[in-house]
Amino acid sequence: MTPPSRNPTNADIVIAGLGMTPVGEHWNLSLRELALQAITAALEDAAGLRPNILYVANMLSPMLSGQTQLGALIADFSGMRGVEAVTVEAAGASGGAAMRQAELAIASGSADLALVVGVEKMTDRVSSDVESALSTASDVDYEAVQGATRTAQAALLMRRYLHEHEAPTDALAGFGLIAHANAVANPLAMFRKAISPEAYAKAPMLSEPVTIFDAAPNADGAAAVLLARRGVFPENPDRPTVGILGSAVATAAPALHDHDDPLTLTAAARAAETAFQRSGLSTEDVDFFELHDFFSVYAAMALEACGFASRGTGWKLAQDGKGSRDSELPILTFGGSKARGDAGGATGVYQIAEAALQLQGRAGEAQVAGARIGMTQCVGGSGGTCATHLLGVLEVD
């Protein structure tokens, strides 16, 4: 069933530089200033390489900032006036989808250096505005019009998940506990404080059965990754070279009610299967998994869809020490969306930057010992789009 693994020494696209801003409430910074900070850090990290093309990953700027055409805006503001630049939007999967576009640009031969910046500004607006904007990732004519919010849809899934799989009421607690424990080591995280199972049990309810510890905070932040065609530019001798071993984007019905089985993330399953095929890797090769825990139930469903657990058992991979940094399959190693904070369309870029830090051995106190292959996956809406990446340490030629 699982294809034979190969030594992942081959990749045409490598990570040349990365940069991230802290995730949180940046009332003193605008959308463009956040993007500039991440871009400046990434280009410094890449020792001055300059991109031929820029992809901006963003989800809510048209609604929350009243600003479109972020490609031109951010290229202009960050000193790249004239460069080819567009926005990529796929709701919460925007970051991973933009990375995929950058890879295709290099693979097509039209660029040697492609920069992706994910940026999101959520906290300028009151929560009812943010909930309205987030609900536009649903099927608006048939879901948002009924008063469905992203939180409520997660609650519908979580109640059904616990019911159908006969799981205990605290079955999904592990994801929040791992995220918060891991974020202590991430200086850029929004919440750097571990939580206890007792605190989870007493957490305020958002939408039954979803509590504040099942839901990631909506935050501001920006992350940038510069991708390069391998062999064209000198590689940094001070750190291992990390390449894109495989990636894929897949879609499913954007409406939760249009899924034959709402508890199966079919887009995640498709994207993971394709990324594994393209890389020649399997689940057994993955040393850590940065999954998208915007709500705890999606974390469990992601583990199931990607083949790490069978249907209905994903929650067990965050129980009894599983999922922690020194376990067989560490997840959310920098705190995930729950504790790092969820900066919307930037999430997929944060995940890839964090995975690259792990593989380069630059993760500091968050380091997963001996990590060679990492997987990332971000989810748009209630599963309408999923983007999956496999990254790995490349061997020296």
Partner: protein, 134 residues
């Protein structure tokens, strides 16, 4: 205001008019003209009964703009008797608790309002199946 947008959907919102696939007989709601099950053209109109059961449910406290007046409200996924699932609010709930699997029927209610001078959007909600009708 989006008057035309809501007007276009009046048959779905007020009467749950969907489609039936002439090739595989799948019932389709909302209508989409291409059968999601077999991929063939499916444009034959089909009248749904408006009966179904609760697949899952929750309560919305932090309502989005336009829904504040109704908060808190109960949102559900309803598995229709004919097969498809819809997202809808539950209404006319008395002291009875809601359970997964509970039979419900469609009613027409106000969905959202856009302020004193804005438009009101009406459409389907679901209520517990009345004993006499059961």
């Amino acid at each position: 205001m989006e008057v035309a947008r809501h007007w276009r959907l009046k048959k779905q919102r007020y009467a749950m008019t969907g489609e039936v696939c002439p090739h595989c007989q799948s019932k389709i709601f909302p209508p989409r003209d291409i059968c999601p099950d077999c991929g063939e053209d499916a444009r034959d109109l089909y009248q749904f009964s408006g009966h179904g059961e609760v697949y899952s449910f929750t309560t919305v406290y932090d309502a989005p703009a336009g829904f504040e007046a109704g908060a808190p409200y109960t949102l559900a996924l309803i598995k229709l008797d004919e097969g498809p699932m819809v997202t809808a609010q539950l209404t006319d709930l008395d002291s009875r608790g809601i359970e997964i699997g509970m039979p419900v029927e469609m009613v027409t209610r106000k969905l959202r309002s856009d302020g004193e001078r804005g438009m009101l959007v009406y459409g389907y909600k679901f209520r517990p199946l009345l004993a006499a009708a059961a």
